[in-house]
Subunit: 249 residues, 2 copies
Amino acid sequence: MLKEERHQTILTHVELHNRVLLTDIAEILDVSIDTVRRDVKELDQESKLRKVHGGAISLGFTTNSARNNNIYALAQKTVIAEKAASLLKNGGVIFIDGGTTCLELVRIIPSDIQLTCFTLSLPVAMELNSKPNVEVIFIGGKIAKEAQMSIGASATDSLSEIKVDYSFIGTGYVDPAFGLTEFDWDIVQVKKAIIKASKKTVLLCISEKLNSQHRYKTCDIKAIDTMITELDSNADQLKLFRNYDVHLI
Amino acid sequence: MLKEERHQTILTHVELHNRVLLTDIAEILDVSIDTVRRDVKELDQESKLRKVHGGAISLGFTTNSARNNNIYALAQKTVIAEKAASLLKNGGVIFIDGGTTCLELVRIIPSDIQLTCFTLSLPVAMELNSKPNVEVIFIGGKIAKEAQMSIGASATDSLSEIKVDYSFIGTGYVDPAFGLTEFDWDIVQVKKAIIKASKKTVLLCISEKLNSQHRYKTCDIKAIDTMITELDSNADQLKLFRNYDVHLI
DNA sequence: ACAAATCATGCTGTTTTTTGCAATAATATT
DNA sequence: AATATTATTGCAAAAAACAGCATGATTTGT
């Protein structure tokens, strides 16, 4: 077997599976592991792939996921934010949750729309505050370091005293059967309070989070009035959610 | 499974859910917790995420310190901030006001000092939140657009329920005879409430503001326990303040 | 065509990396 | 303060990488 043939086979394999083990290639090509190692070394030097301990990975793999995936996610979140923004009505009184998706929504709020916004999230409050026609009311409390938002009894108490038209919330995990779940108990408590403080609740959620779950439960799917993903409203992935009387956008 | 693959999975998870537990990752990837710990350590060193006790959190969220670098009279304010910082005691419960001078104080708070900080100011809260050993409690309320801080009855009510060791406040104007004054009535109300909620009040004030006044009065000089300027404590400009039983630094 | 040189390949022993485990220290939580 | 959880460290086994060498094939120069 010629060297070039092997190189081609290796590359095809890497492109196809994103990664490959040296031992596997050695078996496939029926050559010694040393030869494979040398082949991969050359291909790495030619920048055709990236050699790692024990194997090789496609070039697109690392770039794609780390940064590109982030941009990709941002694109999805922007789509969600735009759909959500279409629900905003002039003069409305709403609640906006923390999280990157909600932050994206805040960013694209048109500056001419007049709103009263409650929030628990410091970044969301900062961003809202830059909108000239938005009145911002921050629900105070102990600030959760990572989430950068108020938690605790003080926050839930304050929430118990308000009733907004719409709340736009995010979630860590969502599953048709298990509903909305979170990693953090404190967060769940405030999210429950948010839902209670809202006439209607809108969930913003990228499709990647669909069908995932964690320890603590916020609510069932049926507690949500509208669920917004970046997907088309009749996408297959949303099939299971149609049983739960939730409006899909 | 290649290390790179694990890294990729970890990153995706962190980006998606903002935070993950090492134990969860270990289960997902079916490797030992030690391996996950080492992986996360590497990713942290590569600045792909931030390792925290028990897990990892996404960067994108924590590193959005929108630094406003063009602060007026930054040099003087830094001097003031350093003097003020020397008053901080480990385990103290304090209040920090809004304004650029107070923000400078927050920036130079040593990361090893353990504090409980109340504040009304969004930027101050954000900055405080980046200090690992500071517990931040935000006093909520309607956010004043310009000042980026809570005002109104809700804020003053909340303040009436606390008593801190020290409060560090700024002021718009100060005069030996007229005391502390402000341009804005709402701000005066909360400042009064802050002073009432403090055992001791420390005023941070650049010398430029000395001997100036405005419409609404916050308090007399004698309500202030300590006044910090960038000047030497026996400077001529402070002469008139010595009659008011205030500690000058 | 023949010898010399070059290259590719696999083998061997050694070094490095990775991984899991156990004991101990540090840190949260109650 | 006591307990549980998480980190750190050292260690050992396994896997992988590496360097050097021998063999055989291919190319090159004469």
